[in-house]
Subunit: 70 residues, 6 copies
């Protein structure tokens, strides 16, 4: 403990996850104290067709032409 569970859009590289795991662990120990070895970070990749905001899949949001398009 603490356990940090991160849901993020699919597509991040292992290198980005390596850096984020280190950064989140460091931020936690810096803020709460305690030992880094007790901090777990778990990543969950979410596909764009599995995440909706405002009732619309991000798959569709990201496929739509920008609002300003003529």
């Amino acid at each position: 403990m603490p356990t940090i569970r991160v849901e993020l859009m699919t597509g991040r590289t292992v290198e980005q996850k390596r850096a984020l795991a280190a950064a989140l662990t460091e931020a936690t120990v810096r803020t709460l104290g305690g030992n880094a070895s007790s901090v777990d970070v778990v990543f969950f990749d979410i596909e764009r067709h599995d995440w909706a905001t405002g009732g619309e899949l991000w798959l569709d949001k990201m496929a739509a032409p920008p609002a300003s398009a003529g």
Copy 2:
């Protein structure tokens, strides 16, 4: 907020998820009020070999012949 997380058996199409995300968001706004843009829906596909009820994997439940079979 609210964040709605849906675990469902693997096999639903993107179209079904599109419809379900919209329906869940609409039901939430209709019931609680607030703005659809603040509602997130996240889907988690669960394989039949990753879900058990009564101690039995759904993989096995669905492979077994119907009880009435001769």
Copy 3:
């Protein structure tokens, strides 16, 4: 299955949760088919000091005077 897990800001009444559980279950069966008895809905109340967006607790966001205030 499906299991629907809803995180929402603390403060909703039992009556609101009663209505939301029914509405989410109905929306799920209407959209995916299947039997309502197989749909579970679980609510998680989140305190304003336990939810942050943009690095700021909602406790603080909601305590701040509206931007337009003189």
Copy 4:
């Protein structure tokens, strides 16, 4: 209810999950009473590059030579 959600490192076989689902369900009914049919077990496979402890991905921990290596 109860719902038991198990996060485990990717790589377990269906047979291991079959046995673990049965064992967890039996342990729950033996300890809490109630009916096995009301116990759900859900498995989540986590890749080694998606799980970090102490700020280090298990992908890297498991790739590093044992400490005692000359």
Copy 5:
């Protein structure tokens, strides 16, 4: 790892949780091997008004007179 997260209806005693944590950990080590010290069990108490099945809160299901009542 593995991490076992158990959602159960509010009302279990610390003694029941003590026994269930031990039983689930033992079942996991017996089935998957590995070390008990790497197994975490986390309990989440769910109120009857926060859990619905078939669109009906368990608060209401448990308040209703048994079907056979005259």
Copy 6:
């Protein structure tokens, strides 16, 4: 997105959560880029009698006298 969900032992102050939410959001934006406004952090307080490691509740681990005690 990303959504960061932090389970931590009960007892942290609002001030600690304020600082941790900011630190985790900053670490995420620094590492992945993107906009802080799209980062959500949610805290879940876990009681010592609801968290077990190695089959033993932390309630009991923390109540036991230190190993070296005469």
